[in-house]
């Protein structure tokens, strides 16, 4: 229903932007289950701050698509309460930076309740919105919250990369009875990706908690999530010309992390590089290193794991500084060669 950029290819595949994939996912789930509704700032009449919810208010009206005042703590709490009382809210944060205002409701009211109540009280809510760096939005609007939320038991944390990820994972998240933090990326919204025929179905879901091997390789494993999966694939293409075959794993879910897939790959390639946009300390890469070290794949490593991360500073504004504060393809290539000692 949502106006999507579609080019029909003969194989039945279409090209869909991440934005439209997210839109489709929400549209389909709103249609499927009347308990699902969307609330957040500008989601209704503005069509969404980043146009992700374009057309939904026109189709579903005030009851199901709710514009809120600028009151993150208040409306996140309202969303959690609605979830407790039987509805299935999608709570949008305009960016996850603003979720910090509401983080108590996400963690203490949503994440912990199923456990505290010994399973009596479910909280089937999805918190979604853009996460991590954008372009030129500076320090207070560029933080990656993957590690923050993934730290907490009781939450599922999902981080899609392409359009199929976005659609399949958002549908799964909405259908999940647990609170899910769904981390999108603003820079990916406008990027078109091929979507298979299977992915175009209204029943298409991707399981939460399972990583995907985007590219098979034998020399080294690159593990990433969200936007940097694309960077890893680009780096892999460059390295392939030099005879280095990278296996690229798209985590898709940060929590619960699919450590088995990473281990299986490491046992094959013997080398590992992690790539993420967030800060290095206590981050996703740090967790991967710890888990690999604790498991059977440790014995298969021929060199220590290298983490490629955002630089450990608040995001600067000037473009050249910003570019150098985030993983670039050359950083990934450099890390691969360093790890392989070539």
């Amino acid at each position: 229903m949502a106006a999507s950029l579609r080019c029909f290819l003969r194989s039945g595949k279409v090209t869909v932007t991440v934005r439209d994939a997210l839109n489709q996912a929400m549209d389909e789930e709103l249609e499927r289950d009347e308990r699902v509704f969307l609330l957040g700032e500008e989601v209704a009449q503005y069509d969404g701050a980043y146009k992700v919810s374009r057309g939904l208010w026109k189709k579903y009206g005030d009851k199901r698509i709710i514009d809120t005042p600028i009151s993150e703590m208040g409306f996140a709490g309202i969303a959690v309460g609605a979830a407790m009382a039987g509805l299935r809210p999608i709570c949008e944060f305009m960016t996850f930076n603003f979720s910090m205002q509401a983080i108590d409701q996400v963690i203490n009211s949503a994440a912990k309740t199923c456990y505290m109540s010994a399973g009596l009280q479910a909280v089937p809510i999805v918190f979604r919105g853009p996460n991590g760096a954008s372009a030129g939005v500076a320090a207070q609007h560029s933080q990656c919250f993957a590690a923050w939320y993934a730290h907490c038991p009781g939450l599922k944390v999902v981080s899609p990369w392409n359009s199929e990820d976005a659609k399949g994972l958002l549908k799964s998240s909405i259908r999940d009875d647990n609170p899910v933090v769904f981390l999108e990326n603003e820079l990916l919204y406008g990027v078109p990706f091929e979507m298979s025929e299977e992915a175009q179905s209204k029943d298409f879901t991707i399981p939460i908690g399972k990583a995907k091997v985007e590219r098979a390789g034998s020399h080294i494993t690159l593990v990433s999530h969200s936007r940097y999966v694309g960077h890893c694939l680009d780096a892999a293409a460059v390295l392939a010309k030099e005879g280095i075959e990278c296996e690229v794993i798209n985590l898709r879910t940060i929590r619960p992390m699919d450590v088995e897939s990473i281990e299986a790959s490491v046992m094959k390639t013997n080398h590992l590089v992690t790539v993420e946009g967030g800060w290095p300390q206590f981050g996703v890469g740090a967790e991967i290193c710890a888990r690999i070290m604790e498991g059977s794949a440790f014995n298969y490593l021929d060199s220590p794991v290298t983490r490629v991360t955002g630089v450990d500073i608040p995001m600067p504004y000037a473009k050249i500084l910003e570019d150098h504060s985030l993983p670039q393809i050359k950083d990934i290539i450099f890390s691969v060669k360093k790890t392989l000692n070539v």
């Binding site: 996140a76 309460g81 009382a85 039987g86 009211s109 010994a118 399973g119 259908r175 009875d177």
Partner: protein, 408 residues
């Protein structure tokens, strides 16, 4: 007639040495007691309202005995918790409700079981009035498997259908309550949500965010401030620029109520419920009440207030005594009847304490992993909110396997 029965009963008591005589009086008493009476109740202060709750409340004998029983049960349960805490059988946080019983009893008397209620951490009273047994409450406090949350929640995290706890973060329950009200409105079920908070929480920003959205969207939410005059050790005068908590909703109408009078609470809450159900939107109530205990078991409660003050409330405004005296002076029940109820309650509380003390503890084996609900079968709307028993059991072994619940 009554005098003659009393003489006979006393004689029987002396002869048998037991309470056999009392039975004689009690069993013949129904015909003698006043079945219903009307009482004057304090006028409520009003904010943004032309009319308020009525100035008189009707009470039947049955209702009176029921309210008495409820309040006395909560009182004795809280005092038992105090005892168990001092014996170190209860640990951690324990915020007791004794003194405030009229609030919980009065509210429950005026709403339906299908309505919803959420409160903060001083929650044992509401946990009981919302349907959880004394056994399951005390066992939760002592961390036993027989507790309502299997020992995983503790004092501040007890839940029941249409009762959302028990919330530890001051003020966080208020947006939650507004959200539950949103769900009521969304589902068109004519239910409402009673959202309680204290005088301390009344200064939380998230309350005002909730007031704004509740008013904007006309949510069926009764926001109730239980003003017991102290937020921990800080008196209301030292915490709030305005202590008229019933006015803090600004554009939301408010009522200030005598929270020590169960009838006043009941009538005010009925009024508020009618307001919400008629689609007028939210309403704020301030219940003026008092807690005998300190803020929690680690607070003796006398460094920021005087013993004289506490004693004065006990003698002049105790909610249970007030109800009892009203009923006795209107011949609605007998002293013996109340005594019998007291004895019965003590017995129940004692049995519950036994259960809570000797019951098996929460098993570490099954409980140390976070609960994640397994994916349901192809979904669809449910009539009731999801209320499930434990669905995820994990054994404590090095490989930490997830065993799925066979029922799902």
């Amino acid at each position: 007639m009554k005098t003659m029965l009393s003489i006979i009963s006393n004689a029987l008591c002396r002869m048998t040495g037991r309470n056999a005589g009392a039975r004689v009086v009690v069993s013949r008493s129904f015909a003698d007691f006043t079945p219903q009476a009307t009482f004057d109740i304090k006028k409520c202060d009003l904010h943004q309202l032309e009319e308020g709750p009525p100035l008189k409340a009707e009470l039947t004998r049955d209702q009176g005995l029921q309210y008495y029983r409820t309040m006395q049960t909560v009182r004795r349960m809280e005092l038992k918790a105090d005892q168990l805490y001092k014996q170190k059988i209860i640990r951690g946080f324990c915020h007791l409700y004794d003194g405030q019983e009229a609030c919980a009893a009065g509210i429950e008397a005026s709403i339906n079981p299908t309505d919803h209620l959420i409160t903060a951490y001083r929650a044992h009273g509401y946990t009981y009035t919302r349907g959880v047994s004394i056994k399951e409450i005390l066992a939760e406090l002592t961390g036993r498997k027989g507790g309502v949350a299997k020992g995983k929640g503790g004092s501040m995290h007890m839940y029941a259908p249409h009762f959302y706890g028990g919330n530890g973060i001051v003020g966080a329950q208020v947006p939650l309550g507004a959200g539950i009200a949103l769900a009521c409105q969304y589902q068109g079920n004519n239910q409402l949500c009673v959202t309680l908070y204290g005088d301390g929480a009344a200064n939380q920003g998230q309350l005002f965010e909730s007031f704004n959205m509740a008013a904007l969207w006309k949510l069926p939410c009764i926001f109730i401030c239980e003003n017991n005059k102290y937020g921990m050790g800080t008196s209301v005068e030292r915490a709030s620029a305005s202590i008229d908590y019933y006015k803090r909703g600004d554009f939301i109408p408010g009522i200030r109520v005598d929270g020590m009078d169960v009838l006043c609470v009941r009538e005010a809450t009925k009024f508020a419920a009618d307001h919400c159900r008629s689609g007028k939107g939210p309403i704020v109530m301030e219940l003026q009440t008092y807690r005998y205990h300190g803020h929690s078991m680690s607070d003796p409660g006398v460094s920021y207030r005087t013993r004289e003050e506490i004693q004065e409330v006990r003698t002049k405004s105790d909610p249970i005594s007030m109800l009892k005296e009203r009923m006795l002076s209107n011949n609605m029940a007998s002293v013996e009847e109340f005594k019998e109820i007291d004895v019965d309650i003590r017995k129940q509380v004692e049995e519950a304490a036994q259960f809570a003390t000797i019951g098996s503890r929460a098993a570490a084996g099954g409980s140390l992993q976070p609960h994640l609900l397994q994916q349901p079968a192809a979904g669809g709307p449910r009539d009731e909110p999801l209320v499930q028993t434990q669905v995820c059991q994990l054994d404590l072994n090095p490989n930490l396997q997830i065993h799925s619940d066979p029922d799902r």
